[in-house]
C-alpha cells in the first residue's frame, strides 16, 4: 500500500472497507462538530473522523493507522477543558460515541461494566434502581463520558470523601496502537503485576484506546444535607475549611465561592446566596440519618466559631438542590456577565489559599482582567475564571499569560498545574515548570512502553525537552534557567 499519510483518499477508502460508510466522515462540514473539545479557543479539523461501534473495528482502525503512520486522537463527548481531544490535521479522530451501552450491573459485587461512550450520569441513573451509584461526579456529568473520565482522571465535588476516577474503577479493556486488546486491572480489588490501571487513568489518550470500563458502585447514602455559610472575609472562610477537617469530619462536598462568583451565580439562578458576602462555603454531609444530624450540628458550630456572618442549613431537599444549583451554574453564570471567560484548574495545599487568593487579586489588577474564584475547598482544587473579551485586541493573549502566571504560582506554593482538567494542549508549557527534564524523559519512556510508534495523541500532555528549552528561554523564573543542561535555541 502507498503511504496513506500523504494520501488521504486512500486512507478514507481503506477505512470505508472497515466500517459502514456513514461511520467515516471526511467532509469538512461533517467533521466540524469534532474540531474542538470544551476548550474552544483551539480548533482544528482532522483528516478524517471514524465512528466505530465494535472493539474489532477499533482494532482494525488502529492497525491500519499504525501500519501507515497515521496519528490517532480518541474522543468521548468532547467536554474536556484542556484540548486533550483536539484533532490533528494529518490524523484520524476516533470517536467512541457509539460505544454507549451499559453492559452489566453486578449488584452483588458492587460493580458495573460499561462502554466508554456511556455518560457519567447514566451509570448512576442505571444503578439507582439498586440503591447504588457511581461516585465521581464532574460538573459536566450530564454530558461527559466515562471513557473521557478515565482518560482525564476526572474528579468532581465529592472527591475529598469518595476519590477521583482512579479510586473508583477496577478494570479496563484497552486497544493498543498496534491493535492488540489488553485487559488492565481485574474484577478483583487488585491485579497481578504493575498498577497499569493507575497509569492508564489520566493518561489523556496517550497510552491506549479504552473500549470497556468496569467501575465500582457504592451504596447511596441514606441522607445528604448541606450547610451554607457566609463570610465577610475570604481568609476566614479558608480557615473554617481547615477547622472542619481538623475536627475529624470529612464532608461529602466542601465548596467555596468568592464575591464575584457569588453575585454572578445568584443573579443567574437565585439560589438564595447572600450577595454582600465576600465568600460562601457550601458544606455537604452525607451518611446515615443520625450521623448527618450529628455532623450538621458540629459543622454549624465550627462555622459560627470561625466567624461566619450567617449559617444556613437547607430546609429541605429542594433548597439543598438550589444551593448546589448555584455552585454548579457558576461557570455559565460568569459567562453571562462577561463576553468570554477562561477557566483555570490548579491545586494548592489548602493552607496556601489566603496567599494564593491575594496574589491572584494582585495579578488581576496588573493584567487588568477580573477573576471569579470557585474552589473545591476540601481538596485544594482552585478554579479561577478569568473574565475577558476575545473581540478586544490582545485580551485573549493577556488572559492566557495571566492563566499561566496563576499555574506557576500553584507550583511555587507546592501545588500542581492541573487538578482535574488535564494538560492536553493547554498546559503543556506549564509541564516544563512542574517537571525537570529527567522526569519528562521518564514520562516519554513510559509512553513509549505502551506506544512505541508515538502515534496516540502525539503532542499532548507531555512536552518535548526541546519545547521546554524554548519555553524556559522565554520565561526565566527568579533568574534561574530551567533545564540548564539543554542547548538553547
Amino acid at each position: 500500500m502507498p503511504h496513506l499519510r500523504e494520501n488521504n483518499t486512500a486512507l478514507i477508502s481503506a477505512l470505508r472497507g472497515l466500517l459502514p460508510s456513514e461511520s467515516v466522515l471526511a467532509d469538512a462540514e461533517d467533521m466540524r462538530p469534532f474540531e474542538c473539545d470544551g476548550l474552544a479557543v483551539y480548533r482544528q479539523l482532522p483528516m478524517v473522523v471514524a465512528l466505530p461501534e465494535t472493539v474489532a473495528q477499533v482494532q482494525s482502525i488502529l492497525r491500519l493507522c499504525h501500519a501507515h503512520g497515521v496519528p490517532v486522537v480518541a474522543r468521548g463527548a468532547g467536554t474536556g477543558l484542556s484540548g486533550g481531544a483536539l484533532p490533528l490535521a494529518d490524523g484520524l479522530l476516533l470517536s467512541l460515541a457509539k460505544f454507549n451501552r451499559i453492559l452489566n450491573i453486578d449488584v452483588h459485587n458492587a460493580m458495573a461494566t460499561v462502554q466508554p461512550g456511556v455518560r457519567n450520569l447514566a451509570i448512576s441513573e442505571a444503578a439507582a434502581a439498586y440503591g447504588m451509584y457511581y461516585a465521581p461526579d464532574p460538573s459536566s456529568q450530564i454530558a461527559c463520558t466515562i471513557g473521557g473520565n478515565v482518560a482525564e482522571n476526572s474528579g468532581g465535588v465529592h472527591c475529598l470523601k469518595y476519590g477521583l476516577t482512579v479510586h473508583n474503577i477496577l478494570m479496563l479493556k484497552v486497544v493498543t496502537m498496534e491493535g492488540e486488546l489488553l485487559t488492565i486491572g481485574a474484577e478483583t480489588l487488585d491485579s497481578p503485576g504493575y498498577d497499569l490501571l493507575a497509569l492508564m487513568t489520566g493518561s489523556e489518550g496517550m497510552l491506549g484506546v479504552i473500549v470497556e470500563i468496569t467501575v465500582k458502585l457504592l451504596a447511596k447514602p441514606e441522607r445528604a444535607q448541606v450547610v451554607l455559610a457566609a463570610f465577610d472575609d475570604v481568609m476566614k472562610a479558608g480557615e473554617a475549611v481547615g477547622s472542619i477537617i481538623a475536627a475529624g469530619i470529612i464532608p461529602a462536598g466542601l465548596e467555596m465561592m468568592d464575591k464575584l462568583a457569588i453575585r454572578a451565580a445568584e443573579d443567574f439562578v437565585h439560589a438564595g446566596y447572600p450577595r454582600d458576602a465576600d465568600a460562601i462555603l457550601l458544606c455537604e454531609l452525607d451518611g446515615t440519618h443520625a450521623e448527618v444530624s450529628e455532623y450538621i450540628l458540629a459543622v454549624r458550630n465550627i462555622l459560627t466559631a470561625s466567624g461566619a456572618t450567617e449559617v444556613r442549613t437547607a430546609a429541605d431537599e429542594a433548597e439543598r438542590q438550589l444551593f448546589w444549583k448555584g455552585r454548579k451554574s457558576a461557570f455559565p453564570a460568569v459567562g453571562r456577565i462577561s463576553p468570554d471567560y477562561y477557566c483555570m484548574d490548579g491545586t494548592i495545599p489548602r493552607r496556601q489559599l489566603p496567599h494564593v487568593l491575594r496574589r491572584i487579586g494582585e495579578m488581576s489588577a496588573e493584567y487588568g482582567l477580573a477573576v471569579a474564584n470557585v474552589f473545591h475547598a476540601g481538596d485544594g482544587n482552585l478554579h479561577p475564571l478569568i473574565l475577558f473579551d476575545a473581540n478586544k485586541e490582545g485580551e485573549l493573549h493577556r488572559t492566557e499569560e495571566f492563566g499561566r502566571s496563576i499555574l506557576q504560582l500553584c507550583v511555587e506554593v507546592g501545588g500542581t498545574i492541573t487538578g482535574e482538567h488535564g494538560v492536553g494542549v493547554e498546559k503543556i508549557d506549564q509541564m516544563c515548570v512542574q517537571f525537570h527534564s529527567a522526569e519528562l524523559s521518564q514520562f516519554h519512556a513510559v509512553k513509549a512502553a505502551f506506544d512505541p510508534s508515538g502515534l496516540l495523541n502525539p503532542g499532548k500532555a507531555v512536552p518535548t525537552l526541546r519545547r521546554c528549552a524554548e519555553f524556559g528561554a522565554m520565561h526565566v523564573h527568579h533568574g534561574q534557567l530551567p533545564h540548564p543542561e539543554l542547548e538553547r535555541f
Binding site: T183, T188, G193, Y194, I250, A445, A448
Partner: protein, 354 residues
C-alpha cells in the same frame, strides 16, 4: 525520633551499580522479605533514610522518608487523631513505609476505605539511571503527567528506590464496634456481599472459624444506628481481633505449609478447593492453606476471574505471583526497562522476566 537524609549516598550506590551493571537488592527491616522471589544482588539499605518531612493534620497529607517505620508514622498520626486509612499490615516490629508501599499490602479496612495505592499522592524516587525524580505531589487532586507514584505501589522495588512518599491520611473514626455471629461460609459470603449495597459505615468484614465478624466505624451516632441493623453480638476487645487478623497472628495463620492469597470477586461462593480458608475484605481476599498443586490452583481461581499469590511458606524460587498474559508481560518489560535500563533493581523478585 532519629531523622536523617541519606539520599545522596543511596543515589551514589545506584550510580555505581548502574555503571558496573551490578544488581541491587533494596532492603529495609526485612519484615516482608518472605514475599516474592528471593532477592539477588548487593543490598541497598534504606533504613537510614528516615523521618517525617512534613505533616499538617489540617491538610490530611503526610510526607515521609521511605525508611521511616510504620510505628513512628502511626504514633504521629494518632496524636492528631488520624490514621493511614489502608490499615497496613506490619509483619514485623521495624516495618517501614517504603517496604509496605513497595509490597502494596493493605489491611482489613481496604475494601471500604481504599488501598495503599489509593492513599499515595506523590513519590520521590531514584530510577535505575541514578536520577532523583519526583512525581505526583502533596495535594489530593493532581493530573499532571502519568501517575508514576501509584505505579510504584506493588512494584516490589523493581522500578526504583523510593525516597519519599506523600500519603493522604484520614481522621480516626470516633467510635467503632464489631458485631459477630455464627454462620457458614456461604451465608457469610452473601451477608458480606449484601452489606456492599447498604449505606452503613462498615469498615471490616471477615469470616473465620464458622464466625462472621463485621466492624462498624464512624461517628458515635452512626455506629449506634448501624448496630441495630446488623444481627449478632458485640465482640469484646475487637481491636485485638482486627490487629491479629491484619498481622497474621490469629491461630489460623500458625499452620505450617503453603499460604495462598486468593483474590476473587467478593460475592464468589465458597470454592470447593481442598484446604483451610479464612475470608477477609468482605470475601474479596481469601487466605488458603492448601496442598493443592499451585498451577492447578491458579487455573481454578483464574476460571472465576481471580488470581493467586503464593504468599508464604512455599519455595521462594517458584512462581509467586499470577503469571501475566504475554502482551501485558511485554509492556511490563518495557516499563521496567524505561525506569531501570540495566536491570539492576530487585531482579526477578516480582517476575523472573523483570
Amino acid at each position: 525520633m532519629l531523622e536523617s537524609d541519606i539520599s545522596a549516598a543511596l543515589q551514589q550506590q545506584v550510580l555505581d551499580a548502574f555503571h558496573k551493571e551490578t544488581p541491587l537488592s533494596i532492603s529495609a527491616s526485612g519484615s516482608k522479605a518472605f514475599l516474592g522471589n528471593a532477592s539477588r544482588g548487593q543490598a541497598i539499605d534504606v533504613t537510614g533514610h528516615r523521618g517525617i518531612v512534613e505533616y499538617d493534620p489540617r491538610e490530611l497529607v503526610l510526607t515521609v522518608r521511605s525508611g521511616t517505620t510504620l510505628h513512628e508514622i502511626e504514633a504521629a498520626l494518632a496524636e492528631a487523631e488520624q490514621m493511614l486509612a489502608f490499615e497496613p499490615p506490619h509483619f514485623g516490629e521495624a516495618a517501614t513505609l517504603g517496604g509496605t508501599i513497595a509490597c502494596g499490602l493493605s489491611g482489613p479496612r481496604r475494601p471500604y476505605c481504599g488501598s495503599a495505592r489509593d492513599s499515595v499522592l506523590g513519590c520521590k524516587l531514584i530510577n535505575g539511571r541514578g536520577e532523583i525524580l519526583r512525581f505526583g505531589g502533596q495535594v489530593m487532586k493532581n493530573v499532571a503527567g502519568y501517575d508514576v507514584s501509584r505505579l510504584m505501589v506493588g512494584a516490589h522495588g523493581t522500578l526504583g528506590v523510593m525516597l519519599e512518599l506523600s500519603l493522604k491520611v484520614l481522621p480516626r473514626p470516633a467510635a467503632s464496634i464489631t458485631v459477630t455471629r455464627v454462620c457458614n461460609a456461604a451465608g457469610a459470603v452473601s451477608s458480606m456481599s449484601a452489606l456492599l449495597g447498604k449505606p452503613l459505615p462498615v469498615d471490616g468484614a471477615c469470616f473465620h472459624g464458622e464466625q462472621l465478624y463485621i466492624r462498624i466505624s464512624g461517628s458515635a451516632q452512626a455506629v449506634r444506628e448501624a448496630r441495630s441493623k446488623i444481627a449478632g453480638d458485640v465482640l469484646p476487645d475487637a481491636d485485638a481481633f482486627w490487629h491479629a487478623l491484619r498481622e497474621h497472628q490469629l491461630p489460623f495463620f500458625k499452620r505450617n505449609g503453603a499460604l495462598y492469597r486468593v483474590m476473587v470477586k467478593p460475592a464468589t461462593p465458597p470454592l470447593n478447593i481442598e484446604g483451610t480458608w479464612l475470608l477477609d475484605w468482605g470475601g474479596a481476599q481469601r487466605w488458603l492453606y492448601s496442598n493443592e498443586d499451585p498451577a492447578s490452583l491458579r487455573h481454578r481461581i483464574a476460571s472465576v476471574g481471580g488470581h493467586v499469590t503464593a504468599f508464604r511458606g512455599g519455595k521462594q524460587t517458584d512462581e509467586i505471583f499470577q503469571p501475566l498474559p504475554a502482551p501485558l508481560l511485554a509492556i511490563h518489560q518495557r516499563i521496567k526497562a524505561s525506569f531501570d535500563p540495566k536491570n539492576i533493581f530487585n531482579r526477578g523478585r516480582l517476575y523472573a522476566e523483570l
